[in-house]
């Protein structure tokens, strides 16, 4: 009961805050303002969960429930993603048939750069995510691309995330109307209800983080991608951001889109940008 009333109080105060904020911004509603959006987004969670340390939000459900956090810390002593991490490290160093390696495709040899992705690519005019960049690197070197939802991609992104652990998310939105449009499109996707269940991402991850859907505790949307890719006991295997988006869609009975389609790239852009300043905690272990 206690959480119920806290939730009510939280959303009440959020509504008041939102109301106070909207009046001046109504005029500027059509102009996309990522900085203000990010600030409002973060404050919503900081006020809703005042006793959760800001950097702890990246631990998703574990920042919301002590018993789950204990189970998680126990697993973190020898985490199940250990194998994916080692496989990723080995794959990252193994040269392609043409002798080049992933290091040649990425700044700083691909080490410690996960916090800069997804990036807006001015040439292409679209958002490029880390998974997309990895496959483009493979194709540029004559190798077949990996599936976005299978283990190879998860191992590679696990290793790259590991090399960025602790660095703060640092997504940049250039003053380019197409980048602002991508951010807005991602935001729209995040709040749009879909599937027969008629849920949007926000229905679960904004309105009721910390609540249970059967055995699982819902993660707050703030910093929800910082620990990606994740080893999920549910899948007893690794999952990339693409796999998570696809399965989340099917849970609401919405037919998922193609992995790395524009909507997914844009919503990843939105979710990563609003989490700027929070640490990278990948690869993660989740229920």
């Amino acid at each position: 009961m206690k959480t119920r009333s806290a939730l009510l109080l939280g959303s009440l105060s959020a509504a008041l805050v939102a109301f106070a904020l909207t009046s001046p911004r109504v005029i500027a509603a059509d102009k996309v303002d990522p900085v203000a959006d990010a600030k409002a987004f973060r404050n919503f969670f900081f006020q809703k969960f005042p006793d959760v340390k800001h950097e702890d939000f990246v631990n998703g459900p574990y920042s919301m429930n002590a018993d789950m956090k204990r189970q998680w810390q126990e697993k973190e002593e020898f985490p199940p993603y250990e194998f994916a991490l080692d496989a990723g490290k080995e794959m990252f160093a193994t040269p392609f048939k043409n002798g080049k390696t992933y290091a040649d495709c990425f700044p700083n040899g691909g080490i410690g750069i996960r916090q800069d992705y997804p990036q807006f690519d001015a040439k292409e005019g679209k958002v490029v995510t880390l998974e997309l960049a990895l496959n483009r690197c493979r194709e540029a070197n004559g190798e077949a691309p990996y599936s976005y939802v299978k283990d190879e991609m998860a191992s590679l992104t696990a290793y790259m995330a590991f090399t960025s652990r602790g660095k703060l998310m640092d997504i940049k939105i250039p003053d380019d109307p197409r980048a602002l449009a991508a951010f807005e499109n991602g935001k729209r996707y995040f709040y749009t209800r879909r599937g027969q269940m008629n849920f949007s991402c926000a229905s679960c991850h904004v309105q009721s983080p910390g609540e249970r859907i059967r055995a699982e505790i819902l993660a707050p949307a703030l910093g929800i991608l910082n620990a990606m890719p994740i080893y999920r006991s549910e899948w007893s295997g690794m999952g990339t951001i693409s796999r998570r988006f696809v399965t989340c869609n099917s849970q609401t009975r919405a037919v998922p889109l193609e992995p790395q389609s524009d909507e997914y790239r844009d919503v990843e852009y939105f979710l990563s940008y609003v989490a700027n300043g929070l640490p990278i905690a990948g690869p993660g272990a989740r229920p």
């Binding site: 789950m68 059967r214 055995a215 699982e216 849970q251 229920p287």
Partner: protein, 163 residues
């Protein structure tokens, strides 16, 4: 249904699978004459792992019954994060411990794991077990020839909102 087997479906498949195999298992139960209660020597306690319920499994493994004791400290979650990976550990202040075992009453086969503790090894173990559904988790410690037990209920259900 979604392209990959949804989490709900796999749970149902596990349960259906359990029923069919159980029938199969009964059919060809070897009635070998070897004494069921092989002492806790090196041999793999095949018989004990075949027992369905917890009481038979304990008898098959140790040949005696256990009495609850607060010297056996069993640590397991209230609600399992996921039935496939349940972190469980046991420690005990009893001495001359020779064996520690874990039983999940509601699993298709009750005995989950059994450890032989050599002298000089600290009597305690942590591992990750699978639990088919909400069940009593029983830890048994064999110390100086007598059995002591601790029991805790762990709630298990699937996650997610359906799909």
């Amino acid at each position: 249904m979604t392209t990959t087997t949804g989490p709900v479906a796999t749970r149902r498949l596990i349960l259906q699978g359990a029923a069919s195999v159980a029938m199969l298992g009964l059919g060809n139960l070897p009635f070998a004459a070897t004494p069921a209660r092989a002492a806790a020597n090196d041999k793999y306690p095949e018989e004990a792992f075949k027992q369905k319920n917890e009481a038979d499994a304990i008898k098959a493994l140790y040949g005696k019954t256990a009495e609850p004791s607060d010297k056996v400290k069993l640590d397991a979650p209230e609600i399992a994060e996921n039935g496939g990976v349940v972190p469980v550990s046991v420690t005990t202040t009893l001495d001359k411990v020779t064996s520690i075992s874990f039983f999940v009453a509601e699993n298709p086969f009750a005995l989950a794991a059994s450890y032989k503790i050599a002298d000089g090894t600290i009597p305690g173990v942590a591992n990750r077990l699978k639990m088919a559904k909400t069940s009593n988790l029983v830890a048994i410690v064999e110390a100086d020839g007598k059995l002591y037990s601790a029991t805790k209920e762990v709630k298990v259900t699937v996650g997610g909102c359906g799909g």
